[in-house]
């Protein structure tokens, strides 16, 4: 199964030329990753199915705009999937606050990463910058990104008004940016 970054780049280049066989290969190589990302955000299989379909249609339509010098192929694809998943989860319905699950949803990343991903330098760097945040604020950033949590949901989970969450997010983002660029 083609999974190296170079192979993915090659597949996308062929998809840009409307190569269906390459598109099928790209789907085989990446759909489990993207489905995992989408499902974690939208939580519902029926929505995740719809979002994943739309994600691949966009990948097919926009393959020509992929720039391998700017981002890894999987990052480019995951960004499309996440963006679409967040659009979906934000539009579906107002937050039912009693619907919000516990804070224990952040899985132990160490296990997952050893399972399926090589520990990249970028990941280590981001993780060390996240760890420099206060633990609660780090969890808020990760729950927003990984679980698609809204400010209101995060406020409910952590017992603060949504406005406070927004302030914290802005400070955390600023701190992260500084940490990552120094």
């Amino acid at each position: 199964m083609p999974t190296t970054p170079d192979q993915l780049n090659d597949l996308i280049r062929r998809v840009a030329a409307a190569d269906r066989v390459a598109f099928s290969g790209l789907y085989s190589a990446t759909s489990a990753k993207l489905y995992g990302i989408v499902l974690r955000i939208v939580k519902r299989r029926d929505l995740a199915d719809e979002v994943l379909q739309e994600t691949y249609i966009r990948i097919w339509n926009n393959a020509r705009s992929f720039d391998p010098t700017r981002a890894a192929a999987i990052t480019w694809m995951a960004t499309i999937a996440r963006n679409r998943a967040v659009d979906e989860v934000r539009k579906v319905r107002p937050v039912a606050l009693d619907d919000v699950g516990g804070v224990d949803e952040i899985e132990d990343p160490a296990m997952l990463i050893s399972e399926q991903m090589e520990l990249t330098a970028d990941y280590v760097r981001l993780q060390s910058c996240l760890d420099a945040l206060e633990p609660q604020r780090r969890d808020i950033v990760k729950l927003a990104y990984l679980e698609g949590r809204s400010r209101e949901e995060l406020g409910q989970l952590f017992g603060h008004p949504a406005a406070t969450i927004k302030t914290w997010l802005h400070r955390s983002l600023k701190q992260l940016r500084t940490c990552l660029t120094t």
Binding site: A32, Y56, I57, R70, A71, L112, Q127, R151, K174, R177
Partner: protein, 238 residues
């Protein structure tokens, strides 16, 4: 004044997904015409992307690939996107019925519909413009259907000012040196609709629109008496 910090916080929250629906729709529209914002969003996407490693792979249902292939074979479904737009419109109606959304949120979905239509259609008829304080705070946005030449102005963060009213203007070389009033904005901040059939669609596409704060009843001079917020129509495709 806009600072890099403002743009960066907005971009970061857009990528995190924590903007509320109205803010998110406005940012999605703004990034099409604001390269600095678009670049900041792309930077945050790259910064946070390593976190994707923490998400477990899950195989999608077996039939999903077939459904994708079928959609490729019927490209009109996706290019014209009537289904998606229909869904969004129903969504807007549902939200209105549920009385959950502030009008701005429902309106933002309408904006999203407009933007989608622009992206998908070769010859769009819908255009949007965003009125902002600095580059950050969207105050109003307008949509124009060039086919019917109907303009709709919706408040995003505009607030009522006692004894004052907002007034809408259009300016264009073809019209003359002074902006021309398009009338007052509804005082209850409900969407304001105007028929612009006296203007040529091509002129509307090029024109600058303005919103100024005027004494009750409108500008006494026929010209804006306060600094106006300006907006140009967003081109159809990017």
């Amino acid at each position: 004044m806009t600072t890099d910090n403002d743009i960066d916080a907005t971009a970061g929250e857009y990528v995190l997904g924590t903007l509320d629906p109205a803010e998110r729709a406005v940012v999605a529209a703004r990034r099409l015409r604001e390269p600095a914002l678009d670049a900041a969003i792309r930077d945050w996407e790259l910064r946070l992307a390593p976190l994707d490693a923490e998400t477990r792979e899950i195989a999608p249902p077996v039939g999903l690939w077939t459904r994708i292939e079928r959609r490729l074979d019927t490209p009109t479904d996706d290019r014209a996107a009537p289904v998606e737009i229909g869904q969004l419109k129903r969504q807007v109606q549902r939200w209105r019925r549920a009385a959950f959304a502030a009008s701005a949120i429902a309106a933002a979905l309408v904006l999203a519909i407009g933007v989608r239509e622009q992206v998908y259609r070769a010859q769009p008829t819908n255009f949007v413009g965003v009125f902002q304080h600095g580059d950050v705070q969207p105050v109003f946005y307008l949509t124009i259907d060039l086919k019917t030449r109907e303009l709709t102005l919706r408040p995003v963060s505009a607030e009522r000012q006692p004894g004052k009213t907002y007034q809408l203007w259009i300016a264009s070389n073809e019209i003359g040196p002074a902006p021309q009033s398009l009338g007052l904005v509804n005082d209850d901040l409900a969407p304001t609709r105007k028929s612009l059939t006296e203007f040529d669609p091509a002129l509307l596409q090029r024109a600058t629109f303005g919103v100024s704060l005027e004494p009750e009843g409108g500008s006494p001079t026929g010209r804006p008496t306060s600094p106006a917020l300006h907006a140009k129509l967003l081109p159809a495709t990017n």
